[in-house]
Assembly symmetry: C2
DNA sequence: TGTGTTTCGATAAAATAATATCGATAACTA
DNA sequence: TAGTTATCGATATTATTTTATCGAAACACA
């Protein structure tokens, strides 16, 4: 168990967890780094290194005990204690995210959405509340929102970002295809689906 | 203009493009690597290196000529010649993607969706066609689909992946939170939104 | 109990990526 | 026109990440 974990390693951890959960369902109790490496298309040394950074229970000849490895992964990934998140922009993408029930198992509690358009206010299909933007200050004060998800049109993303920062939220996942400026104690991650697709297309062309 | 471009560099290129388009609108004609670096929070040497890999027109004291740099970026990123993509799963996420009009400007042409549920067949809000899954072979044969986007429930993702591969599509963007197995000449990229959020939450906790 | 096999973790080496340094060049200024 | 400055690109350095190597631990089985 080392102290620092690289972001590349972090990105692989969820895949280990997913795979381990799958094979545990199949009744497997122990697994070797080699088996994991083959299944996920990674190097086995890399697998051992990654796992060593969050767990410490590999045994020669035996491999890893799946249950405790899963436990360590879930603990590290914070899939136990929920983090509260809210969405800005209750449009197509925003409501898809709001009504998606797969976040809980990753430790995320998507609570509500905010939209500038009062007509959007009310409840989503799955029954989660949608508020108007001016209700944010009050709500933010009374509860501890950790993460904001931006799903508003690009031209409004920066202004929404500013409002988010003003209300004390320190982490933002931004789906709008623009670079956002914010104080550097605010963590911003850009999730640009169009770029992901474009990069895939580039790789495809490069291969031929 | 070098030959090989690292994936880290590739991920940064769209941000350069976005920024350059923005400042071009403001009437700026030349820009220095330093200005770009400051705006996007990168190292200025890194910016020069990245840009050198796709363009070659920086001039001492002047910087880069924005127009030609934009041209080179767009050309490299393939934002001119459109690549055709289709979506599997016309649920909440799938239709949000289908009706999103921001892909075109990144060179992606999202044509249609396929869903196993016949009730979904017809047209989306924006008028794009939704077909049943069994219509895929015929359609795939008559046109050149480059990219498949998987937006079906996790438990069906692998079976849909198999169908996609059978129909000759060589690149997949997978939104289902499962690892997919496919022949290694098929490029698979996982876009797991829940993990992105979870990682943000981990970083946030680590900072405090 | 001893030998062989598997698999781990630690350490070393190689590959990749980021950052720093510096001479060269082009524009500006006096 | 000569000196000054901003900025580039090339090269060198440093840091990070991946991959290889190898001794030791743990079990199987004779
Ligand atoms: N739909 C997709 O698949 C997709 C894919 C990639 C990126 N995006 C990006 O996600 C964002 C949302 O896309 P969408 O398709 O859901 O758009 P949308 O038009 O369906 O929804 C946008 C919502 O934001 C609300 N809004 C506008 N200004 C606001 C403000 N200042 N504060 C709060 N809410 C505001 C609107 O009322 C609307 O409900 C866009 O930036 C888009 O570029 C979407
Ligand atoms: N909604 C989100 O914000 C979100 C976020 C992250 C990941 N995801 C993932 O994206 C996928 C879709 O999510 P969603 O919220 O749109 O779900 P959804 O239930 O709204 O839609 C799923 C659609 O897939 C169709 N489908 C089922 N089996 C199919 C098959 N074999 N072939 C073709 N179509 C099939 C269904 O008929 C349905 O229309 C899921 O894997 C989910 O985990 C969704």
């Amino acid at each position: 168990m080392s102290d620092y974990i690289s972001s590349n390693t972090m990105k692989r951890l969820p895949f280990y967890l997913e795979y381990l959960l799958k094979i545990r369902d199949e009744g497997i109790v122990n697994v070797s780094s080699k088996a994991i490496a083959v299944a996920l298309n990674l190097g086995e040394v890399q697998v051992r290194k990654d796992l060593a950074s969050i767990s410490k229970n590999g045994r020669p000849k035996i491999g890893y005990e799946i249950n405790s490895l899963i436990g360590d992964l879930q603990k590290f990934l914070g899939y136990k204690d929920l983090t509260d998140a809210v969405i800005f922009g209750a449009g197509k993408l925003g409501t898809a995210l709001l009504d998606y029930n797969g976040f809980e198992e990753c430790g995320l509690n998507v609570l509500m959405a905010f939209d500038s358009n009062p007509k959007k206010a009310g409840k989503s299909d799955s029954g989660k509340p949608i508020y108007t933007l001016d209700e944010l200050p009050m709500i933010a004060k009374s509860m501890n929102i950790s993460i904001a998800i931006i799903a508003v049109p690009a031209q409004h993303a920066q202004e929404v970002c500013d409002i988010i920062v003003e209300n004390g939220i320190k982490a933002i996942l931004n789906f709008a295809p623009v670079h956002l400026d914010a104080p550097k104690d605010v963590i911003i991650k850009n999730e640009n689906l169009a770029y992901s697709l474009a990069l895939l297309s580039i790789e495809l062309k490069a291969k031929k």
